[in-house]
């Protein structure tokens, strides 16, 4: 294994790497052993606590409905936030100051506020000023909070997607006599949507992760709060946390891999302008780990 930071190891470097590896493995093993001991001490390794996850009951009664609600809230939030985000993203690029400035202010405002605050506020708002039933309210509040925040993030993605297109596209459109609106709807947007796809898919990971907030803070019955009921029933706090974490990792890893597959595919494709927005274009975005940074020059 060679890299720019170091030469292909010769005999001495190889020996040194082996020493490092051995020491590192020992440290890792020590930590793992300590964790294992601790788990044993506290009785968290008992099969009784893990056994429920091999039965269908734990999954069909608790985890799968929870996961279903997580995905439902995430999907709803994405579907509502996308057109909103496109609207604000395009408005922010308007030639008219009185459109551009307010749109920019709205986007920057909602990006600066924690999504939890938006959820708490939405929850209270629905409770006091609307007749949304208390059963539906948590879902409404979670989705509202997620939409407000993510629409502003998506607005930035849309803007970056359009800006990533070669300038010739706009110029050619103007040259054949299209108006500004026509240029946007029939030339720029269709191409930008393709370029944005990887970034949008990986924004979905952020949304899925944020639904967990709704579970703890406003009582939406998603995967994390399903864990609570499950653990109350089987008294298996640690195993249930580990299983729920694995479920989240699997779902999000699938989304992340899909995003980077999309990106690679779009970069390869002969059609289109070749403009692609990497999944990590936007802050706080658990982007595709492989392939998004300079094609792995260093590692």
């Amino acid at each position: 294994m060679s890299s720019v930071l170091y030469d292909t190891p010769g005999p001495r470097a190889k020996r040194r790497n082996v020493v490092f590896s051995v020491v590192f493995v020992l440290v890792l093993a020590l930590v793992a052993w300590w964790v294992w001991q601790k788990m044993g001490d506290k009785g968290q390794l008992k099969w009784d606590l893990w056994e429920p996850f091999t039965t269908s009951e734990a999954w069909t009664t608790y985890l799968l409905p929870g996961l279903g609600n997580t995905l439902k809230a995430a999907a709803l939030a994405m579907v509502i936030a996308l057109p909103l985000g496109a609207f604000f993203g395009i408005a922010r690029m308007s030639d008219h100051r009185w459109v551009r400035v307010p749109a920019g202010a709205v986007v920057e405002f909602f990006r600066a506020i924690p999504v939890l605050l938006l959820m708490l506020f939405a929850n209270e708002f629905y409770a006091r000023s609307t007749d949304v039933t208390s059963d539906d309210r948590p879902l409404y509040a979670v989705v509202t909070g997620l939409v407000l925040y993510n629409a502003s993030v998506l607005a930035e993605i849309v803007r970056a997607g359009i800006l990533a297109l070669p300038k010739g596209q706009t110029e050619a459109a103007h040259a054949i006599g299209l108006r500004k609106g026509q240029t946007m709807t029939s030339i720029l947007l269709p191409q930008a949507v393709t370029a944005m796809l990887p970034a949008i898919v990986s924004q979905l990971v952020v949304i899925v992760k944020d639904t967990a907030l709704g579970g703890v803070m406003i009582g939406y019955t998603e995967l994390l709060s399903a864990r609570q009921t499950l653990a109350a029933n089987y008294a298996n706090v640690i195993p249930s946390f580990i299983v729920v974490a694995i479920v989240f990792v699997v779902v999000n890893f699938a989304l992340t891999s899909f995003a980077s597959w999309l990106e690679r595919r779009l970069r390869r494709s002969k059609r289109g302008t070749g403009a692609v927005l990497a999944p990590d274009t936007v802050e706080d975005n658990p982007a595709a780990i492989n392939g998004s940074y300079g094609a792995g020059t260093y590692a």
């Binding site: 890299s3 930071l5 600066a112 605050l117 260093y298």
Partner: protein, 235 residues
């Protein structure tokens, strides 16, 4: 029923009443403390992870990659809740705290460090990739070892080019500290939850806390953005 959102004629006085009746400033001070300590910790741990991620030892590379991949895909809420319900309640990790409040604070910081370090690591790694190959090649040509190349040549340039991305991580962290409300740390979101449930002026409570976060995140972003542009290595 009159709308609870009717603007009170003396809205300003109500804001002052809030500040007296509730410790809003104290809550935001807690947010700042959580952010500062977590930022420091995750910068250290994240740099170590980034070093492992590009190291010649395959095992370290593998460990850092797996760590980053796992931690970034777990919701922060799960991690924070685990520090309280798992580490503290089951394993009895009190982190040397005598009372419950301090313990919650320290656990939250631990959780934030574990989570944010993954993002710091990725930001740094992307920064390392912006350093031209010639820099590392020249360093090796004059006989520097891997750790010298990294310490003296690559990282100093990388750090300068990642001020922007790291600023984004810091802003995200500031907002993420609200998750500590899930384990009862008395920071901004925790106070807002109780205030918004008890006070009639929902909109005003929301506005006060939104304003607080805008004040915390906007100058940080502007300043670090400016600094990032200033410090960036011109190529």
């Amino acid at each position: 029923m009159p709308s609870p959102y009717a603007t009170h004629p003396e809205a300003r006085e109500i804001v002052f009443d809030f500040l007296e009746g509730y410790d809003v400033l104290g809550a935001f001070w807690m947010t700042v403390k959580l952010t500062a300590l977590s930022a420091l910790g995750s910068l250290i741990w994240g740099t170590l992870l980034a070093g492992m991620r590009v190291s010649p030892v395959p095992l370290m590379r593998g460990f850092a990659t797996v760590y980053v991949n796992i931690v970034r895909n777990i919701p922060l809420t799960v991690i924070i809740l685990f520090t309280s319900l798992g580490l503290a309640d089951i394993f009895g990790m009190t982190l040397g705290a005598s009372d419950f409040k301090v313990q919650g604070f320290r656990l939250a910081v631990l959780g934030f460090i574990a989570y944010t370090a993954a993002f710091v690591c990725e930001a740094l790694r992307s920064g390392i990739n912006t350093v031209p190959l010639g820099q590392a090649e020249a360093a090796r040509a004059i006989g520097l070892s891997f750790s010298q190349t990294l310490r003296l040549i690559v990282l100093p340039q990388a750090f300068r080019s990642v001020i922007g991305p790291l600023a984004n991580v810091l802003i995200a962290l500031t907002k993420n500290t609200t998750v500590a409300a899930a384990i009862g740390v008395a920071e901004a979101a925790y106070l807002m939850k109780s205030m918004i449930e008890n006070e009639a002026q929902t909109l005003l409570v929301g506005a006060v806390f939104a304003f607080g976060f805008v004040v915390l995140t906007l100058p940080t972003g502007l300043f670090l953005g400016w600094l990032g542009k200033r410090m960036a290595v011109k190529r």
